[in-house]
């Protein structure tokens, strides 16, 4: 197991390195110099040159790249071109919005999807089993921002139950308002995510229902429900956990979109603003940290899968 974790860790670091190289290259392919965006229309050539020197964008690409890798190795994401604040500070503040949003939405999606998915599988031939499948199919087709707009329209503008967007100035120091401003975004993401999760759970349960071990358990006298709970859940979970890594990354990306709809000060708005302003350090920082988080979830999901499935643990590679 330890050997596996180490191997997996090496793959993670290697992927991160490749991502860093690709990000650096892609950002430099964008037309336009950040110095122009910084000093604005009307600046003199001298002002632009000064801004370039200050930002280091006048240096050769090779030198910029080596400096960037060196900083990354020291966990230094640099300073924003625009705000001059350390990138890591802003990311930390914004992750305090995006991460809770992601995990709350994902948790809620699991709470909705697991029981409904199992129900849809067990009662696959009943009308409500079918109805659940249809609803989840529709759910997958709904764009997350559109659902967000609909929920705002109903629960904020019409019923006036919840704020339409924004985040309190004092953040979590103002817990009631912070939670209120998270409710609609969390529900928005959870609905869309639970639709696809439900389909995975349903498929996994159907597979378990048709398996030999379940038939054996029933032959030994266990009821179908009892057999499903005792033997089926863990077996089904192996399949579901393998997609969780991908699903949680999708949730994270959904959060980035939903933040825009609800004006939440998270990673999404930081990324969009950074791109508009050619704020390379901010954009790089957001993308690197997002990549790291996605790779890390994949890593943890793989390990969780091994822990759940003794067959995989035995495997030697």
């Amino acid at each position: 197991m330890l050997g596996y974790i180490l191997r997996r860790l090496v793959i993670l670091l290697l992927s991160l390195f490749i991502a860093a190289v690709v990000l650096f290259a892609l950002l430099r392919l964008l037309p336009g110099d950040p110095a122009n965006a910084l000093v604005g229309v009307g600046a003199t050539p001298a002002q632009i040159a000064a801004a370039q020197a200050q930002l280091g964008s006048d240096q050769p690409l090779g030198a910029q790249f080596l400096g960037y890798l060196g900083d990354l190795a020291r966990f230094d994401l640099g300073q924003s071109f625009v705000s001059r604040a350390p990138v890591i500070d802003e990311i930390t503040t914004r992750l305090s919005v995006t991460l809770p949003l992601t995990f709350a939405a994902f948790g809620l999606a699991l709470v909705i999807a697991v029981p409904l998915g199992i129900l849809a599988a067990v009662k696959a031939r009943r009308w409500y089993g079918l109805a659940l499948s249809v609803v989840s199919q529709i759910g997958i087709a709904i764009p997350v921002f559109w659902l967000g707009i609909l929920l705002v329209y109903e629960f904020s503008l019409h019923l006036r139950w919840l704020p339409s967007g924004g985040f309190p100035l004092r953040g979590y120091a103002d817990p009631a308002r912070a939670v209120q401003s998270m409710i609609l975004p969390v529900i928005t993401i959870a609905i869309v995510m639970s639709a696809s999760l439900m389909r995975y759970v349903r498929a996994a349960t159907l597979e378990v229902l048709g398996s030999d071990f379940l038939r054996t358990a029933r032959a030994l006298g266990e009821s179908r429900t009892h057999a499903l709970i005792r033997h089926g859940l863990r077996n089904g979970a192996v399949t579901v956990v393998s997609v969780l890594g991908i699903e949680i990354s999708t949730t994270f990306l959904g959060a980035v979109v939903v933040e825009q709809v609800f004006s939440l000060p998270g990673m999404g708005s930081m990324l969009l603003l950074g791109i508009q302003q050619r704020d390379y350090p901010n954009v790089q920082g957001v993308l690197i940290i997002s990549t790291l988080l996605v790779l890390l979830t994949g890593f943890l999901a793989d390990i969780a899968q091994r822990l759940l499935d003794p067959r995989l643990r035995q495997e030697r590679r």
Binding site: G32, Q54, T93, I149, F167, F262
Partner: protein, 505 residues
């Protein structure tokens, strides 16, 4: 000229009340008195322009002017919402006969938020912050004319110029007076204004509270919170649900219908300084020909364009000068819409069958729509427009820097920017020696009346020359809940003075 639309009148959408912004504000104040004004109420302002940092010399963007000018920081002079330049931290000043030496006497009893008194040394370092080598202030070049700044005593500042500059007080209205003990002001502040920064949460909101030791009149509210949105719809929703009391500038007319028919909201229209224009490259044929430019101007029904883009809002302009500039004069009759005359003029200029040109069009609103409209209008007089969509960055490199274009669309936002027509090296390459002379010499005018006369002449000349095609002036629309009054209508230089805003229960 300012317009204010009352919600009741907006229902009919016909009656516009014309009044000066001063009387509009007075009227607003009277209305608010009728209800119970709460002097402790915090006013929540929704805005799309979050500052990138808190230092206006470090690329903070227009959002910092909106939040801080006149609220947290003050200048020696202030550009009022009506467009006048008035003394603020200056008690009085004198100018030498040759116009080269300005001697300013500072107001007594002004203190910074940190408690330090304001002295002449603070003023000197504040101006030098803007002119410093590393400064990214967009106003830097306007202060190039300064030769030296001296502070002979705590209350006196002497500025010596290289050449006479009647606009110095105006240009100084853009310079914040910052405590010279404050070093980095990109995340904190130390100004003299009626409000102190309370807290700023990046991406979310910025709160200010009244400064107890303010030298002037105390604010008529209990503080201000700017809430920032990245999406106009989210901003409008916040106003509809009462999360904010005012939104500072509405960028499209689409959303206004939701507020126009609702007595809970007030829509106010002021005069902006943002001009939508088709800029020809006046250096290249056929646009080096005044007749051609004038003909194209006559070929376009600008009223129809304005209605298409802004509905009932916005104003037509006959030149580059907005109504809040002192040298404004109504020139909409010059080269006014007359397609038949346009055809004839084109024929006389040697283009009886018209011609074809490429219009470099920035890829963001409203330019693509405007380009299509112009394409239709000009086709009617035989001129074919090829629309070439470009990004803001391409615009900057290809047009602004390289002058490599035939014609382009752009919005120009600044106040008092007719001076661009006095610079033959500017991107549009307009070169009329008489206009250049008037604009250059107006800076050396002995008094503002002479300056105004000279620039008015220049203004009329560029209109006659059809130097560019000035399409319309954007409206400046502020929407608020109807219990909030006293906010600025014109928002010149993106400023949003908050101290007079009152909120009733």
């Amino acid at each position: 000229m300012h317009f204010r639309i009352d919600h009741a009148q907006a229902r009919g959408r016909t009656l516009l009340m014309a009044m000066t912004s001063v009387s509009a504000l007075t009227l607003g104040a009277v209305c608010a008195m009728a209800q119970d004004v709460d002097p402790q109420a915090v006013v929540n302002i929704g805005s799309l322009y979050e500052p990138q940092n808190l230092d206006n010399t470090a690329g903070a963007g227009q959002g910092i002017n909106e939040a801080f000018n006149g609220n947290v920081y003050e200048g020696l002079f202030v550009l009022t919402d009506a467009g006048d330049v008035e003394p603020k931290l200056v008690d009085s000043y004198t100018t030498s006969d040759d116009g080269l030496v300005y001697t300013f006497t500072l107001k007594d009893g002004v203190t910074f938020h940190s408690g330090d008194p304001m002295t002449a040394a603070d003023v000197k370092t504040s101006i030098e912050r803007v002119t410093a080598e590393g400064s990214a202030s967009s106003r830097k070049s306007t202060l190039d004319v300064i030769d030296k700044i001296e502070a002979p005593d705590d209350k006196t500042v002497v500025i010596t110029l290289k050449t006479a500059s009647i606009s110095l007080p105006y240009n100084l209205s853009y310079v914040w007076i910052v405590n010279d003990a404050a070093e980095d002001i990109s995340a904190s502040e130390d100004g003299t204004g009626p409000y102190m920064l309370q807290e700023w949460r990046r991406g979310s909101a910025l709160a200010m509270v009244p400064f107890d030791a303010y030298w002037g009149e105390a604010p008529s509210n209990g503080g201000v919170m700017f809430q920032y949105f990245t999406d106009a719809t989210a901003q409008n929703n916040a106003l509809l649900t009462g999360a904010v009391d005012i939104i500072t500038s509405v960028q499209t007319p689409d959303a206004l219908a939701r507020f126009a028919d609702n007595p809970d909201f007030t829509i106010s229209e002021g005069a902006s300084t943002t001009k939508e224009l088709l800029a020809y490259n006046d250096r290249v044929a056929p646009f080096d020909n005044v007749e051609v430019r004038a003909a194209l101007s006559k070929a376009v029904d600008k009223q129809k364009l304005l209605r298409a883009v802004w509905g009932d809002y916005g104003t037509l302009i006959g030149s580059f000068v907005p109504p809040t500039d002192p040298w404004f004069v109504d020139l909409t009759d010059v080269n006014a819409y007359d397609p038949d005359a346009a055809k004839q003029m084109l024929a006389e200029a040697g283009y009886p069958d018209g011609f074809t040109f490429t219009l470099d069009t920035p890829n963001y609103d409203p330019h693509p729509i405007v380009a299509q409209f112009l394409q239709n209008e000009l086709a009617k007089v035989g001129v074919e427009v090829k629309i070439n969509i470009i990004t803001a960055n391409e615009w900057y490199t290809k047009i602004y820097k390289a002058h490599d274009f035939q014609a382009t669309l752009q919005e120009h936002v600044n106040h008092r920017d007719i001076v661009f027509y006095g610079n033959p090296d500017f991107y549009w390459g307009y070169n009329n020696p008489e206009v250049t002379r008037l604009i250059t010499q107006s800076e050396a005018a002995p008094d503002t009346d002479t300056q105004t006369d000279m620039l008015r002449d220049a203004n009329e000349m560029i209109a006659q020359d059809a130097a560019s095609m000035w399409l319309y002036l954007y409206p400046q629309i502020v929407v608020s809940t109807s219990n909030v009054t006293g906010y600025p209508l014109n928002g010149l230089n993106s400023q949003f003075f908050a101290a007079d805003i009152t909120k009733a229960d």
